[in-house]
């Protein structure tokens, strides 16, 4: 039993890596634009399907799909940005409806192009087991966990050291003050969208290489990313990582101890529990309460 639980914890942590990448993208865009991109999960899924196409048509490892995924997903995200930017009145409410509409378009476009069948990788190299002591994982899980840690370190470095990263943080915390300091907020918003879609591309390829994908999964991913940002408290990067690991572990434990059908229910209960007990999240600053 103990071994099973340890294994669940391990798998959950590995899964948490990709979850963190998705949630960070959502949180970045919310920070600069105060817009929740409800199509974010669909962008991740788009990257996953590009990985599937590259693998099945060229017969290569899905990793080689990353450049193409980056290109297409970034282009799609830039398009989303310009559409959101066109909204003139009541942006908070209308941006939700707009990105919801884009999510519907993407889900159905994915279904039209790739059909509703469930897809998974055929790469033998990725599916090979890696055994560390009593713990077991697929090679792809381990590889992409390391990749997501590297990306998160890169993101942390970018946000704290580079000019644009600082601009993103400045616009997130005080838009008007940032403007006075010579930061162009619209350019910064666009940059945050692009960085979010870079993270989404890697997460999408990761999801395809160790899991199964289907067109309706994008919606689930958006919900998961949101649950993580609530767990974390908006605007906290270490919080997002902890929230993502927490969600991954909760799901893995539910699958091991109860049933895989209850996986989403467990995440939701965790979410409601945090909302009831700590409405500002585990690491968030005060002030979300109205």
């Amino acid at each position: 039993m103990l071994e099973l639980i340890l294994q669940a914890l391990f798998s959950g942590v590995l899964q948490g890596g990709s979850y963190a990448l998705i949630a960070l993208g959502l949180a970045l865009v919310f920070g600069t634009m105060k817009v929740i991109n409800l199509a974010h999960g669909e962008l991740v899924l788009l990257a996953a399907y590009i990985a599937y196409t590259v693998e099945s048509s060229l017969g290569v490892n899905p990793v080689f799909a990353i450049p193409l995924a980056l290109l297409i997903v970034c282009a799609a995200a830039v398009l989303v940005y310009f559409l959101v930017d066109l909204i003139r009145q009541d942006r908070e409410l209308n941006s939700l409806l707009l990105t919801y509409g884009i999510a519907i378009i993407l889900t159905n476009a994915i279904q039209l192009i790739w059909s509703a069948d469930i897809r998974s990788t055929g790469s033998a190299w990725f599916q090979e087991p890696v055994v560390i002591g009593p713990l077991y994982s697929m090679r792809s899980e381990l590889v992409f966990f390391v990749v997501s840690l590297a990306l998160m370190t890169g993101l942390w470095w970018w946000l704290s050291r580079s000019w644009y990263g600082r601009a993103v943080r400045a616009v997130s915390s005080q838009r008007d003050a940032a403007k006075l300091m010579g930061v162009n907020p619209r350019k910064t918003e666009l940059v945050s969208f692009i960085v979010a879609s870079i993270l989404a591309s890697f997460a999408g390829v990761a999801l395809f290489s160790y899991g199964v994908i289907q067109p309706s999964y994008g919606h689930v991913l958006t919900v998961k990313a949101f649950i993580i940002t609530v767990l974390a408290g908006m605007g906290s990067i270490p919080g997002v990582l902890v929230g993502a690991l927490l969600l991954g572990v909760t799901e893995a434990l539910t699958v091991t101890l109860a049933s895989s059908a209850l996986q989403e229910l467990a995440g939701m209960c965790l979410f409601l529990l945090v909302l009831f007990v700590m409405p500002n999240g585990l690491f968030g600053a005060a002030g979300r309460r109205g």
Partner: protein, 317 residues
């Protein structure tokens, strides 16, 4: 005066002309019933958005809960259908109680929390096999009975029931909007902080609007269950039960009462008759595009737009 007269004409057409002329055409009547179901949800959705200032992506949860509660009550406890439908609404209202902590949060949290929340009930309905029949679903749910010598289980009968339900809800919406609560809610829309300062409990008012909206959606869900006599989780909690009403409400204008209804009939009929024949699988893609286009080019919907152009014509003439 003029609007009153046109409403009476519309009522006469809806209750008299349509059942008499189209009543024998089963296909058209079933399209109309479905359009009114969507219209009912769109109305409830718009009430929450317009009066409560909240966007919901989870109304499919209330629809499904209402359907299941009413179906189970009539099947297992033998409750009369009318009472079961009302209790279906109550069930949906109870389901909305879980959303209360989210109402205190600012910003987009409500919209996202309810989006996440809608999944829960589908999972419960699928997994709780002993009560809900699981993914196999519930069949032979009782039909509407014969009353006053008229068989309400047929297409025309069902049409008259859903038409009346939707019109009663529209009337309730109107009464709420005109009441003191409505005035407070409209003030809240301008500045929630200022409204709270003068002593309006804004969280309570928002909660009440959520309850009303959930109840209405639950009753519509219950109607649909007795109308089609069959339920399964994938159908009852399908995302379409919220996507179509949102597109309909935005299309017609969600700040008006009739907008969502007119939008629902228009959008649903166009979707079924045109879009579906263009793209049989994935015609929702066009609905998504329609939603995006409406938000970008005419976010207040077509009804206010038409009204404005009529007024302009009057001014010109």
């Amino acid at each position: 005066m003029k609007t009153n007269a046109s409403i009476w004409v519309l009522l006469l057409v809806a209750y008299g002309a349509i059942p008499l002329t189209l009543g024998s055409n089963h296909y058209v009547m079933s399209l109309l019933v479905a359009a009114l179901v969507i219209g009912g949800i769109a109305l409830a959705w718009a009430l929450l958005g317009n009066l409560g200032g909240m966007v919901s992506f989870g109304h499919s949860a209330f629809f499904g809960v209402g359907a299941y509660v009413s179906a189970l009550l009539t099947l297992k406890a033998g409750t009369p259908i009318v009472i079961a439908m009302l209790l279906g609404g109550v069930g949906a209202l109870l389901a909305s109680l879980v959303m209360l902590p989210v109402l205190r949060l600012r910003g987009p949290y409500f919209a996202l929390a309810i989006l996440a929340y809608a999944h829960i009930f589908k999972i419960i309905a699928t997994e709780w096999t002993a009560v809900t029949g699981g993914s196999a679903g519930l069949s032979s749910i009782p039909r509407f009975p014969t009353a006053f010598g008229f068989d309400f289980s047929g297409k025309v009968g069902s049409y008259l029931i859903i038409l009346s339900v939707v019109l009663i809800f529209a009337l309730c919406y109107r009464l709420i909007r005109a009441s003191d609560y409505g005035i407070a809610l409209r003030a809240m829309h301008d500045s929630e902080d200022a409204t709270r300062v003068i002593g309006v409990n804004s969280v309570l008012l928002k909660a009440l609007m959520l309850f009303v909206s959930a109840f209405m959606t639950g009753v519509i869900g219950a109607f649909n269950a007795h109308y089609i006599n069959f339920l399964e989780p994938d159908y009852a909690f399908n995302g379409l039960w919220v996507t179509l009403p949102i597109v309909a409400a935005i299309f017609g204008g969600y700040r008006t009462i009739l907008g969502p209804l007119i939008g629902a009939v228009t959008v649903y009929l166009i979707d079924q008759l045109v879009f579906k024949s263009l793209i049989p699988y994935g015609h929702q893609l066009i609905l998504g595009a329609l939603l995006v286009a409406m938000i970008l080019f005419s976010p207040s919907g077509l009804v206010p737009l038409l009204r404005a152009s009529v007024r302009r014509n009057h001014a010109a003439g």
